[in-house]
């Protein structure tokens, strides 16, 4: 029944609302940088002192790991927002009860939340790249291409997070998401290249969305370019769009009963 079409203006009004809320405090952006910086210091620089160089890449270990952690920074900043923040708006604040009776469609709401999360991911990513710069871990000016790459990372995980949120019954259910997110962070080539795995295992790793995120950020960060980066771009765009479609469908059923 209810038209699910979206318009840029209506979607933009929700992004504007979220921006008004987020500009009140820098804490969320800062806190989404703190954890990755700690990983960068302890594993990138600390463990890196024992590791030396990664085979086939002519940079110090910390510079190799940094783009991987950059990907998880964008991922977590976006994902947490469409998970915890949106879930709070749904279940605790009932924010959408006031928004649904306006001309905004559920598609506008879903896309607006995803875009807000993408913007948060972008700010967190820029912050993290600045930390890399300060630590002397920026090895190629091509890292500027990684910045738009973080938008795609944010899109995939913001949409994925929104879809996940529609399945959550209460806050404790989010524990399950950590069962996926943490192993993915540890094993999706954040800390070492895919070649570490035996051949038979590699396709399983390559399927992980975080692996594809790291692909599109690490290559430009290290000044490398392979055509397979396009595969990653298409993968993330499709992954995000499918997740957004699923989230919109499920939100419609929940908000417009």
């Amino acid at each position: 029944m209810i038209a699910t079409g979206w318009t840029l203006r209506r979607t933009g009004s929700l992004v504007e609302r979220n921006a008004l809320i987020y500009r009140r405090s820098l804490t969320p952006v800062l806190s989404s940088i703190v954890e990755p910086v700690l990983y960068l210091l302890s594993i990138g620089i600390g463990v890196g002192a024992l590791v030396g160089k990664v085979a086939g890449v002519d940079v110090r270990y910390a510079a190799y790991v940094a783009p991987g952690i950059l990907a998880t920074t964008a991922m977590n900043a976006a994902f947490n927002q469409t998970c915890f923040a949106v879930f709070t708006r749904m279940k605790t604040d009932h924010s959408y009860d006031a928004i649904v009776p306006t001309p905004l469609s559920v598609a506008d709401i879903a896309l607006g939340e995803v875009l807000s999360a993408v913007i948060s991911g972008l700010f967190a990513s820029i912050g993290f790249v600045l930390v890399m710069l300060v630590l002397g871990l920026v090895v190629s000016p091509d890292i500027l291409l990684a910045i738009p790459g973080t938008l795609l990372v944010g899109y995939a995980f913001a949409a994925g997070g929104l879809a996940v949120t529609t399945y959550m019954r209460d806050f404790s259910d989010f524990q399950f998401t950590q069962l996926v997110m943490l192993p993915m962070f540890l094993f999706a080539t954040t800390f070492y290249p895919l070649t570490v795995y035996p051949h038979w295992l590699r396709p399983l790793i390559e399927i992980l969305p975080l692996y594809q995120c790291i692909e599109i950020l690490r290559e430009p960060a290290l000044g490398i370019f392979h055509w397979d980066i396009l595969v990653a771009v298409i993968y993330l765009a499709v992954f995000g769009s499918l997740a957004l479609a699923l989230a919109t469908r499920r939100l419609s059923r929940q908000l417009l009963a």
Binding site: S13, D97, T102
Partner: protein, 317 residues
Amino acid sequence: MSDRLLVEARGLTKTYPARNGTPPFHAVKGIDFELARGEAFGFLGPNGAGKSSTMRMLAAISPVSSGSLSVLGLDPAGDGPEIRARIGVVPQDDCLDRELTVRENLYVYGRYFGLKKQMINERIVGLLAFAQLEEKADAQVEMLSGGMRRRLTIARSLINEPEILLLDEPTTGLDPQARHVLWERLYRLKHDGVTLIITTHYMDEAEQLCDRLVVMDGGKIVAVGSPRELIETNITREVLELRFPVNAHAQIGERIRDAALGERTEVLPDRVAVYADDGEEALAQVHAMSLEPITALVRRATLEDVFLKLTGRSLID
């Protein structure tokens, strides 16, 4: 549908489908009503009567299960965004953005309706005055009292200058003073020609605000009319309420019922209500039966009494 009618419902039903073993729930079971421009129209009924489901269908945010509904001459199934652009909704919970200021809440809401910044800022001046929140314009919503939040929620719903304002339980949870302030604000809207649709389970609210109302129970409409008509056609002018010692209550109640004082006697768990056009005379008859009630009160009949008669239950459980 005639041009005069803003809303027309025929055989309107709302059924929530069966889910995980729970049977389908029939929230609204075929209701008819219509609403003219400038009216203040009420849905009176206890929790679970189907009022909120009806409101959600009117606001084009809940699909109609069967029957027909037209709002502003439009079909909620196809013209949802257009209907929503022309109505205002005050949800039961305030659902304000608590992190934002009063002014920002109004601004953000105006943006949802696609209004230009300058126009929103012009309207905010008037709405702050209407909500008596000028002093609090730049205070965070978190800091406001319950009554102030409610007034802000109403002001917010007016940002698009709606033709119909839907208010779901507008004063639930407010203290008596805040309720009266709110009623006075709603009178003003009515006076300014805004069509109001109000759900409430407070009979005094329905009496105060509504020109015309429907009494709902179990998803059906059990009576329609103005508050006065409903009282006149369903009930006597006065009610005599008597209280007796708990152990003798039921037995004395029976005696009074058998004596057929007035038109009707209702033996309630805590009191005996005698419906009579002259309450004092009924009381004199009780005394003549040499009964000594602990308390005796003669009052005018209200919608609460109408509801009790029509459904056999009280409005507030």
